[in-house]
Amino acid sequence: MNADGAGLLTAENVTKVFGGLVAVEDVTFSVPERGIVSIIGPNGAGKTTFFNMLTGLYRPTYGRIRFDGRNVTGRRPDLIMKDGMARTFQNIRLFGTMTALENVMVGQNARMRAGLFGSIFRVPRVRREERSVEEKARETLAYVGIAESQFEQMSINLSYGDQRRLEIARALASDPKLLLLDEPTAGMNPQESAALTDFMRKVRDERGLTILLIEHDMQVIMEVSEHITVLDHGQKIAEGTPEEVRTNERVVEAYLGKQGEKEAEAGAARREGTT
């Protein structure tokens, strides 16, 4: 917990309006330090928009975002990254024609100091920095479980699973305090998802990170999250522990619809009748 008693990251009344569309409406929530917190919600609920506001890609229409005791509302994305918030993307956004190693080295850009002239004349300080950045990139790649034979591969040529892992490595390389994962298990099979779940806990415990994730895979969410926030149509409709959320009526309604809920029950009854 920080000095002000709030979490590592807090959002107060955050709202985003695109033209006439209210994508995120008046969302207030906070992420405690070293917690693993999930945001869930049906497609189009505004989860990714919310992420984009946290990381500075969008400026909130209203509201305030505080991170690590500092107001970061509308701050530039690269500076927010420098403050210690790193993210991955829903659709993998690697630098396709850079090698895995180079991708992770770019991830450390904010931690580097080499300037134009230092780079041209490659002064000893820059040389040392280059070496340590590469060293760290190798370490991080190994940490997320990418084989050494893949380090020099163009990231576009990596397997899907490795690309997902590489994105996490790229984010981790900057030593963030908060890691934002946007649907990290999308496209993964159950074993891979389970491995990622373990990995998230490992990262949190070993590196003292806080993790905020958007996820659709209920099994992953229920297993890994300590706290869940549910968005629907841009509004926060529920929050609490996995158990609380699972039994929350509004959440079930948002996912299945009022009518859908009855039909689901009816369907279950019918199946029981026929077998």
Partner: protein, 440 residues
């Protein structure tokens, strides 16, 4: 024909029939071309040998470094085999100066992926700096007696402002770097095609300013001499050396070669640095780059600034070398000419761009006007080939795009992009999500 003789197969050597045939054809073409453009045949043959070694031993590091060193030495001693006042040295010097420009543009377009169609602006600014500080243009300077700094006879006794070449070079680098950043500013919120339009407009603005500069007065002095041009310009005057002359072209060649050397050094160093990686990340995916801690504004402005500086450097040299700074040099077509070098050689590839620049300048300044110019009349057509030069470039580019879209010597990244169908930019990894507003 299809099977390579087993005896020729050696590990790490490329000796298949196709490679040998291409090398053989290259020898014939090299010697014929060398003859046509009045290049020394022995030197042309040596060049072919170096390239052949490089191609055959393409995996051998020692051979790679050896041929690179040999190529550098070859380039340095080349003038001794040529007539010092001859056409070949004249064109080669020009080609080297344009190589500096192409390498500068390559930083902006090739590394950072910012399509700049107004690169001529930096050539103009560099050349104008020379016009102002190395000629009699400011006739009133120093009370009509001239003002000179670190230059020898005869420039020091003439009216006007006469600075040392190296100082002017430095001034031009500073001026064009600032200009590059200023021109970059309004493009910061734009992408792709829109950047191209804005830079094109800036190129035109600078071009117009030079044309109409004779009617624009600042502090009682006109800005340029318009179409009439500022001439004569001081010859390069380096410490410990005789002032250069217009008849003895070897020193000019070496100065141009040195400029290329500096440019190459900076290009390689920057490419393999934090900044170089940031540029490529930016080119690949701006949103991801920003989210990974790459400051977009600073990184883009540095690309514009450093790229522009080389345009300015080449401008200073060409101003002095061509002995005139006039408005007709700074047309839109020149920007396209330089851009064509970058694309023909291979966007982002330093070696490729260098080759593209040398090939296109020889085509433009030698082959078309001197060698092939009267060919149409030989077959009974009533025009000179030089009237068609841009048509020929266009044709070459079309052929390149069909046969080898990645350029003569492709950068390994571009090659992958084109062969695997990865588009640089937002759609690279499936574009379900569109970021509607990315803040710079």
């Amino acid at each position: 024909m299809t099977k390579t003789a087993p005896a020729l197969r050696r590990p790490g050597m490329k000796t298949d029939t196709r490679t040998l045939a291409v090398l053989g054809a290259a020898l014939v073409v090299t010697l014929w071309m060398a003859d046509q453009i009045e290049m020394d045949l022995f030197m042309a043959f040596v060049l072919w040998v170096l390239i052949a070694i490089r191609v055959v031993l393409h995996e051998n590091r020692v051979a790679l470094i050896g041929t690179l060193v040999a190529l550098a030495i070859w380039a340095i001693v080349l003038p001794f085999f040529q007539d010092s006042g001859g056409g070949f040295i004249e064109d080669a010097t020009q080609a080297l100066a344009l190589t500096v420009m192409a390498l500068g543009l390559n930083i902006i377009v090739g590394f950072a992926g910012l399509l700049d169609l107004g690169y001529v602006a930096f050539y103009a600014l560099g050349a104008l700096t020379t016009g102002w500080f190395m000629s009699g243009f400011f006739a009133g300077a120093g009370g009509g007696e001239g003002f000179s700094l670190l230059v020898g006879e005869p420039a020091s006794n003439l009216p006007g402002v006469h600075f040392n070449f190296l100082m002017v070079l430095l001034i031009a680098v500073v001026v064009t770097t600032i200009a590059g950043m200023l021109i970059g500013l309004p493009t910061l919120r734009l992408r792709g095609d829109y950047i191209a339009i804005v830079t094109l407009a800036f190129g035109e603005i600078v071009g117009r300013l030079v044309i109409n500069g004779d009617t624009i007065h600042l502090f009682g002095e006109q800005l340029t001499n318009g179409r009439q041009g500022i001439t004569p310009i001081d010859k390069i005057d380096l410490p410990f050396l005789e002032p250069f002359s217009g008849l003895e072209l070897r020193p000019w060649y070496w100065v141009a070669l040195a400029l290329v050397g500096v440019t190459l050094f900076v290009n390689y160093r920057l490419r393999d640095s934090r900044l170089g990686r940031a540029w490529i990340a930016l080119r690949e995916d701006e949103v991801a780059a920003a989210s990974m801690g790459v400051p977009l504004v600073k990184t883009k402005l540095l690309a514009y600034g450093t790229g522009a500086a080389f345009g300015g450097m080449a401008g200073v040299f060409l101003g002095s070398y061509l002995n005139t700074v006039n408005a007709d040099q700074f047309q839109f077509s020149f920007s396209i000419f330089i851009l064509a070098m970058v694309i023909l050689g291979g966007l982002g590839s330093i070696e490729g761009v260098m080759l593209g620049a040398i090939v296109l300048s020889f085509i433009n300044y030698n082959l078309i006007p001197d060698v092939f110019n009267d060919y149409p009349s030989k077959v009974g057509l009533d025009f000179d080939l030089s009237e068609l030069s841009f048509g020929i470039f266009g044709f070459l580019l079309v052929i390149m795009m069909v046969l080898r879209p990645e350029g003569l010597i492709p950068e390994r990244r571009r090659k992958i992009e084109l062969t695997e169908g990865v588009g640089a930019g937002d759609t690279a990894f499936g574009g379900g999500e569109t970021i509607q507003e990315v803040r710079a």
